[in-house]
Symmetry: C2
Subunit: 190 residues, 2 copies
């Protein structure tokens, strides 16, 4: 009895973000989102567990992009080269056409403490997953944790820059630059 | 009408940690804690807003230790020297006699997802506070955020090592070593 709605997921996501940005996340219901694109609340819940999930959908693929990058590093690659590979893979997950969506999503999250917490916990879980993947490649502690946190920190800083008003560089380019800044910070570059 | 109980705060904290460790955090009430040291639930709530606060009491002083370290760095100190000063100050906040308490506290937190989240959010807030202090000293982005996150990551990794079974080095010593490892990671040391 469940009718398949072509493109429903994407329409719901776009509509949700618009409404969250315009009215506020708390003030928007799943039914509001569904109705705004001519769908029912029931259809909404067929795609998303709740209205928060619209913003965090795709976390598994996001995390997997980092892990694929770790896996793609050459055998015996140094920790920093492995981190570099992970950042390259993960940042390619955000082509420039996603920038407007990412920018608006971040604005919605920044306006809501509960969503901010969820985002922080997502990034913490990501760091743990990357550290685990690095240990599986034979890295020992504390290098695995340091490298994983460095990776997530560089990504986070680069991502914030990528969605800044007026920024036009690609995320992979920015991430490379931020990684270089980390080297400068710790004294390995002039 | 409020009777002052000498040492009540410390007795409640010690009793709470014992009970959380023995019975589980969820299974222990504020009344259980108070009764175990001959105090009333009302007295408990005079010192702590809820049973979780027993574990997170002192966060302001903890954060302040980092900020004092930042402030103590020489004018014009490099970002990494400022981070080093912050780590030195903050790790001195945990003398070896606190190690058993810190170890047991971490065991309680690790056993409870809600407490883990609270701890992660505390560390994220700390990174933001340190980044703000670095910007006030004139550091620009992305250096301020990178340095602040490096500081908090090094502290977190060092802290976990400090409370590891059998570890006998002091937290300041371990933190220095982890900071050196970060230099190795990014390629600035052999």
């Amino acid at each position: 009895m469940v009718r398949w709605e072509p493109g429903a997921r994407e329409r719901l996501q776009a509509a949700a973000l618009e409404l969250y940005a315009a009215r506020g996340f708390e003030q928007t219901t799943a039914a509001d989102v569904a109705e705004s694109v001519g769908l029912t609340e029931r259809t909404f819940f067929r795609y998303f567990a709740d209205k928060r999930e619209v913003l965090f959908d795709g976390q598994d693929r996001f995390e997997q992009a980092f892990l694929d990058g770790v896996a793609a590093a050459a055998d015996g690659a140094s920790a920093i080269d492995t981190v570099t590979a992970a950042l390259r893979h993960a940042s390619a997950f955000f082509p420039d056409e996603r920038r407007p969506w990412s920018r608006q999503r971040q604005a919605v999250i920044s306006a809501n403490p509960g969503l901010q917490e969820r985002e922080l916990l997502k990034m913490a879980a990501l760091a743990e997953a990357v550290a685990g993947a690095l240990r599986e490649r034979g890295l020992v502690e504390p290098q695995a944790s340091l490298a994983a946190h460095a990776c997530v920190t560089v990504f986070g800083v680069a991502f914030r820059q990528w969605i800044a008003v007026g920024e036009e560089r690609s995320l992979p380019d920015i991430a490379r630059g931020v990684l270089d800044e980390l080297r400068v910070l710790t004294g390995s570059a002039p």
